[in-house]
Amino acid sequence: MRRKKDRPHKAGPEKSALTRRDFLKGAGVTVSGGILVGSTVASAAPPGPETGFVGPGAVPITLRINGKSHKLNLEPRVTLLDVLRDRLDLTGAKKVCDRATCGACTVMLDRKPVYACTVLAIEAQGHDVTTIEGLAQDGKLTPVMAAFVKHDAQQCGFCTPGFVMACTAYLEREHNPTLEDIGKNLGGNICRCGTYWGVRHAVLEAAGVKGGA
């Protein structure tokens, strides 16, 4: 019941003794390896062996983030989150659990919410990546952000950007949320300060549903 959100990886190696990086490093990344991969990896990979393996050394990749193209040279094991935070200084997405549990790293891939800690940068090629920095244009708050401020849906604020992304993506597909829906659909974001009460009201407000104000 707790983790309802779509995840980029259905079967990760998380429960094995291997760490994710060990697994990915050892296995390489196959074209059919992840549900988001598709043909983009094959087309983006350098002239590689016919097996469809890339890496383990650095390979050139191109990411489209917030409408801007970024050319990078990265090992295939590098996650989208680490690229955003450590290479591009887009630090709105946070690293918290690093295991697709808490949602603090939520970004959108083609407007669908994903946990950036569990998407490889190489997998994100050919998709439109939207981070929280890409939502607020010219310093103006989006309706979801403004509702978070109004309903004080944030304390320390570390889960907040991920929560705002998840709420934004949720409201793009659901225009008339109920409290019960919110509980089920936003259960993939964890807050330690306990701001859920405010988040519920912020979501209702941003959706224009009565009870949000």
């Binding site: 019941m1 707790r2 998380e14 760490t19 990086r21 090992e75 590098v78 680490d82 935070r85 450590d86 200084d89 630090t91 709105g92 997405a93 946070k94 690293k95 918290v96 659990c97 690093d98 295991r99 549990t101 808490c102 603090a104 981070t131 929280i132 920095e133 939502l135 607020a136 708050l141 952000m145 403004a146 978070f148 401020v149 109004k150 004080d152 849906a153 944030q154 304390q155 320390c156 604020g157 570390f158 889960c159 907040t160 950007p161 705002v164 919110i182 509980g183 089920k184 936003l186 993939g188 974001n189 964890i190 807050c191 330690r192 300060c193 306990g194 701001t195 859920y196 009460w197 405010g198």
Partner: protein, 721 residues
């Protein structure tokens, strides 16, 4: 009427103070622009990773870092625990590596070869006999008052006995502990640290580094923490890994970021001590409490954790308590929001609730009857709060005697608890600066844990100067600013609001003195309100804020406000009452929180919105530790089994029903001045929820968290009894 020049404005004159105001850093946080320590990327920044000890207790036989050092991209390897060192818990640091990126740092950690000699370990804290048999206990204090033996033997006494407890839980700050360290020259260190103690940072770094033979003057260290992703009592020092970040940065000649991985965060960056107790409690048949006796124990790791203050809040005429420390090989205890209070509260309020059930009394009636056992200053507050909470919960209509008798497998119940905390403002100094162009800055070495500290500072200054909130620039989070206390024990709001009030009154009075001649009035006749400086006797004599400040010419006003200081601006000691309404599925053992009511006093409230958020948040944190949280230790291996957020469970947005928060304000409360609020509302949820579950199913689930297995076990035991 105000009699002292710094006094808070009287009722009706408070303007912004006490209103529900958006936090001023809300937009920067909700848009992802707030930069935390973890987000700090100075040019050339290296990333450091820790090699953790896999054993709960071991001696290091040998250690070889040569392969790690040779790995391309590795810039520095630091041995933390050398051969011969004894390790006391799994997860402790052995060595740290700094490399150009996270992947290489992780590779290098795996290249370090360590030979361990495992030693016997002990990680079980719930079974006191087992700990005693293993020789892992230490006396933790004992106290007696009155004649409890005689009171328990009184033939008229009704006695209830029970076992109650809470396991070790972690802080699980979403921003893990850590620092970014940069030597801007050979002698000067800049650190961004996720800390509750910005002002204390330079001294702590300096001392830690000198112990490691890195010579640096505190004077040449700056600690910065603009935003912190949670602390809850676990981030008062830079910790060993903060010092290591600075050592690595020196070795590598480049800035180093060392943030704990999630598993390390949960294993070693803080734990709330456990507490268990066998309790006897007695009352007369009319419910008058007469005697308390408890034998308690708990663990804070290899060191002592202190004893929970038993019995909690209520001073029994006859009482005896004895506490035993259980010493275990788990990561050390740290202050966890309201240290030792949630433990004492659960043990006391559950025992009293069981006694009320035995007396066939409504527990609210029993608490009201015994409110004279509470500290005198809180008796009226508790009485008021119990009545308000009962009314908000419609207690008289909804409460039933223990055991929901309605048919079906969903049983509903209600429970109540009360709590206390101190919360006097800490030492704080601030600068209030008014410039000739009218701009205002308030500057202090404090930090905002998410409680609303920035907002409270801004409101206090704006109201005192009679200008809008957005006209005040609040600068905190840097050790270069005037010293302000660490944020712990609910001491910040009192400290910073009081220092800022004094500093702002002095700054305002300097401005009055500067403009009075041009208005042809005495400075004492001036007031600052609605963006104007005007004569109280003749409001037509007035200047806008900007016009007034222009009279300063080239002079800038800068005052220093301090706490403590003159006039009564704050106090200590609050009460609070919470009621939980739960449903329990007796087939699955699942507990559902239908509703929680919190009634809380904390003196004069500066910002109602962030104050209420503290209470909502505390109740949710309370749901977490009541239903889900536990640091699960493997007895055989001595390791933590759930050092991740998938199995270290926290509540999510759908895991509770409706919350009601009622803050006690007005006469009797406001004139006490500002008192802290961070700790108190997190104390009662465990007891209120546990009592509600007992009320629903008719039997006590002795320990938190109230997981389905424990609920079903209690039901089975109850059915057999």
């Amino acid at each position: 009427m105000a009699t002292c020049k710094y006094d808070w404005p009287s009722e009706g004159q408070r303007g912004l103070i006490g209103e529900s105001i958006d936090r001023i850093d809300g937009p920067v946080k909700s848009s992802g622009r707030a930069k935390y320590t973890y987000d700090t990327n100075p040019p050339g920044r290296l990333i450091a990773k820790i090699l953790q000890c896999p054993h709960a207790h071991a001696k290091i036989k040998s250690l070889d870092i040569s392969a790690a050092q040779k790995l391309p991209g590795v810039k520095a390897v630091l041995v933390v625990k050398d051969a011969g060192s004894e390790i006391q818990w799994a997860g402790d640091e052995i060595a740290v590596v700094a490399a150009v990126n996270e992947e290489i740092a992780e590779d290098a950690v795996r290249q370090i070869k360590v030979e361990y000699e495992p030693l016997p370990h002990f990680v079980v804290d719930e079974d006191l006999q087992k700990a005693q048999a293993a020789g892992r206990t230490k006396e933790g204090g004992e106290s007696k008052q009155g004649d409890p033996d005689k009171a328990f033997q009184d033939p008229d006494a009704v006695v209830s006995e029970g076992l109650y407890g809470l396991p070790v839980i972690t802080h699980c700050c979403l921003e893990s502990h850590g620092s970014v360290a940069q030597w801007t020259d050979a002698k000067t260190l800049k650190t961004w640290t996720s800390t509750q103690n910005v002002t204390g940072g330079p001294g702590q770094f300096g001392q830690g580094l000198r112990l490691k033979n890195v010579q640096v003057d505190d004077n040449n260290i700056e600690t910065i923490c603009e935003y912190i992703g949670g602390g809850f009592g676990s981030k008062f020092s830079p910790d060993s890994w903060g010092i290591e970040a600075a050592q690595l940065a020196k070795m590598a000649g480049a800035p180093v970021r060392l943030m704990l991985d999630r598993d390390a965060e949960l294993k070693m960056a803080g734990a709330r001590p456990s507490a268990y107790a066998r309790v006897r409690v007695a009352a007369k048949k009319d419910g008058t409490l007469t005697a308390w006796d408890s034998e308690s124990w708990g663990t804070g790791g290899v060191g002592p954790a202190g004893h929970p203050p038993l019995p909690y809040v209520l001073e029994f005429p006859n009482s005896h308590w004895k506490h035993t420390e259980v010493l275990t090989n788990i990561g050390g205890a740290r202050a966890w929001r309201a240290p030792n209070h949630p433990q004492a509260c659960l043990i006391t309020m559950a025992a009293i609730d069981d006694l009320a059930a035995k007396l066939e009394m409504d527990p609210i009636e029993l608490l009201l009857k015994n409110v004279n056992l509470a500290p005198p200053v809180l008796r009226k507050a508790y009485t008021d709060e119990l009545h308000v909470a009962a009314q908000l919960a419609d207690w008289k209509k909804n409460w039933h005697p223990r055991g929901d008798k309605t048919p079906g497998h969903i049983k509903r119940g209600m429970g109540v608890s009360l709590h206390t905390w101190g919360g006097r403002g800490h030492n704080s100094e601030c600068n209030v600066i008014i410039r000739p162009d009218g701009s205002v800055t308030v500057r202090l070495g404090s930090q905002d844990l998410g409680t609303g500290t920035r907002t409270v500072i801004g409101i206090t200054a704006a109201q005192t100067l009679g200008i809008p909130l957005d006209a005040v620039k609040v600068e905190i989070g840097d050790s270069k600013y005037p010293p302000s206390g660490a944020s712990g024990g609910s001491t910040t709001v009192g400290g910073v609001s009081n220092s800022v009030r004094r500093g702002a009154v002095d700054a305002r009075d300097e401005l009055f003195a500067a403009v009075a001649p041009s208005l042809g009035v005495q400075p004492a006749d001036l007031e600052a309100r609605d963006g104007k400086i005007q004569s109280k006797s003749d409001p037509s004599k007035s200047l806008t804020w900007k016009q007034a400040c222009a009279k300063l010419g080239v002079k800038t006003i800068q005052t220093t406000g301090k706490n403590p200081g003159p006039c009564h601006l704050g106090d200590s000691g609050v009460g609070g009452v919470q009621i939980a309404d739960v449903s329990v599925d007796t087939e699955t053992g699942q507990v559902k929180i239908n509703r929680m009511i919190a009634v809380q006093d904390c003196g004069l409230i500066i910002d109602m919105k962030t104050a209420e958020s503290q209470v909502y948040g505390a109740m949710i944190m309370g749901v977490c530790y009541s239903l889900f949280e536990q640091k699960v230790m493997d007895e055989t291996l001595g390791i933590m089994l759930n050092p991740n957020m998938e199995f270290y469970k926290l509540a999510t947005i759908g895991d509770f029903g409706e919350f009601v928060v009622h803050m006690m304000t007005g006469p009797g409360y406001d004139e006490r001045g500002v008192i802290g609020l961070g700790e108190p509302p997190v104390i009662s949820p465990g007891a209120a929820i546990s009592n509600a579950v007992a009320n629903a199913i008719g039997v006590r689930v002795p320990t938190l968290p109230l997981t389905p297995d424990k609920v079903l076990a209690a039901l089975e035991k109850g059915a057999m009894a």
